[in-house]
Amino acid sequence: MYTYRAYGLMFSLEFPCPELLPAKGEPDVVVRYGDIPTSLKNPQVQGVLYEAQSNQFLLKLENVAYYLVQNGNEIVIAPHPEATADEVRLFLLGSCLGALLHQRGILVMHASAIQTDRGAVLFVGASGNGKSTLLGSLLQRGYPMMADDVTGIVLNEYGKPLVLPAYPQVKLWHDACQQLAQPIENLRAVRSQLEKYAVPTHHQFVDQPVPLYGVYVLRVHNRPDMLLECLEDSEKFEIFLGNTYRQRFLDGLNMRLPHFHLATVAANAAQVTRVTRPTHPFLLEELTSRLIEDLG
């Protein structure tokens, strides 16, 4: 058995998972190989590649694996015989972990996160708006990372939102590596057919929960200028709601109500700033500097 820590939880796996941080302790979640039904009995929500019902989530990726995530404490995997271990882990660490966190009542954001002097800062925005590239740039400026794509938030004993550390890896496309002058020769492609690479960040990772400070919402526009605007009240709440990871999972898992509560608390506690940059050029250096300046 291999044991790791991610999102403040201990994981016990039947196979090694080099993306996660090794740790010792009693497992909160067991990940194992096993037989899986091809569909759930009474799915409340059926997506194209998943089904969800109270306490059960089934991800069906025919040529990679079927994954059953249940009760917030178990993930069973039935891999396709021709799938590689890297591929099987890729979807385990994406949608399956996201569903598991939802099952545990954690607020799951489609966001990257870093630690700053003011607390944890999240970056949200549509895929392709530069979350991971910006994260790579902030890492180069010395900020420790907490999460790349999926960020978990819980409330502490005083009801204050805490951001959970995910695992020490950033996924970057070829052009983002180039922008960051990150050599790709020694990097592993996340799948052999994709020019998207796994960059390990063990040396620059926070392994403790950090109080939530703020959220930057990344947008692009067709103008040459860059804009930073503070959001208030309901706008902040909409950001937490709209950037919740795979919102439709919540309906299937009957988690809408607790999610609503968590999103409200987090939105009230957070500084939320909308950052709009030109579509082209990216202005990565300027964007990074403006954000660092804004963070004081």
Partner: protein, 286 residues
């Protein structure tokens, strides 16, 4: 039958203009609809639609896997909708490796296919991408042409196979069992009221002449240009000067060289004749 009406066209063939018209027709407001808040979007190839309905990141899938699941995504989009949906699409009507149409017929209510003189398309396309005209003339003649096809970066849309201009047209208009309305850009320009009324009727909307007039007035090219000069249009390509350039019929005459005209006419002769862009004796009509 599905719920989706595809607003289908090769790029730069009047798709956005149609969406401006439809947005104004539906809303029936006192002011023109904002060009940055149009119905009929996002584009069918938008990554966000896929990720939410599929339940995983398309950016972790191979292009073949994405094509394999795209029909299911549109079926689910259609099934989840209580009313008809209008969705812009630039893909040619192609099939995936499983030989299924990527734009699922089960999800389809109908297709409004817009076609424009390829000579004008080439000029407009060059402006849109800020590319030399010669390059876009080649693109219109390239059998396997695709846009958003750079595998080295994450884009907010999927790769879209356009094929050559002729193949794009035929992929849609010759596909059996599609509830199809073919509209020429030139007719939208030169016979606007009748052409847009036909579209309204086909889309199952109540035909109201005064609404058609108002929507046409709010969609006038000069008005769109004026809006764009005041606020940047979010669908403009980053390197282009503007999105709404001329909107004219026949502006190729000022731009294309004789060789470029010949290249396009030879390659697309048959389809140009079929849709009235070229006479039997080889004369260019617009």
């Amino acid at each position: 039958m599905g719920r989706i009406y595809w607003l289908a066209s090769y790029p730069k063939s009047g798709n956005t203009w149609l969406r401006v018209f439809l947005s104004n027709y539906w809303r029936n407001g006192d002011q023109p609809a904002s060009i940055n808040d149009l119905d009929g979007g996002p584009i069918a190839s938008a990554r966000g639609i896929f990720d939410e309905l599929a339940g995983l990141e398309a950016s972790d899938l191979t292009p073949d896997e994405i094509d394999r699941y795209r029909p299911r995504v549109y079926e689910q989009l259609s099934d989840n909708s209580k009313e008809d949906l209008f969705l812009k699409v630039h893909d040619a009507f192609t099939r995936n490796a499983e030989d299924e149409p990527i734009l699922s017929k089960a999800a389809t209510a109908g297709v409004i296919y817009l076609i424009r003189n390829p000579l004008d398309v080439a000029v407009s396309f060059a402006h849109h991408w800020n590319q030399p005209v010669a390059r876009m003339v080649d693109a219109l003649c390239q059998d396997d042409y695709a846009i958003v096809a750079n595998p080295k970066r994450l884009h907010n849309q999927f790769r879209q196979r356009l094929l050559s201009w002729s193949h794009h047209v035929c992929s849609w208009v010759d596909e059996p069992d599609l509830n199809l309305l073919v509209i020429r850009y030139e007719d939208m320009n030169l016979d606007a009221e009748a052409t847009f009324t036909k579209i309204v009727n086909f889309a199952g909307l109540e035909v109201d002449r005064s609404r058609v007039h108002k929507a046409l007035e709010f969609s006038r090219f000069e008005r769109l240009q004026a809006q764009e000069s005041k606020e940047e249009f979010c669908e403009k390509m980053p390197l282009a000067q503007s999105f709404f350039r001329k909107g004219m019929v026949g502006s190729w005459r000022e731009i294309l060289t004789e060789e470029q005209v010949e290249q396009l006419v030879i390659t697309h002769n048959e389809v140009m004749q079929r849709f009235g862009y070229l006479s039997k004796t080889g004369d260019l009509i617009y």
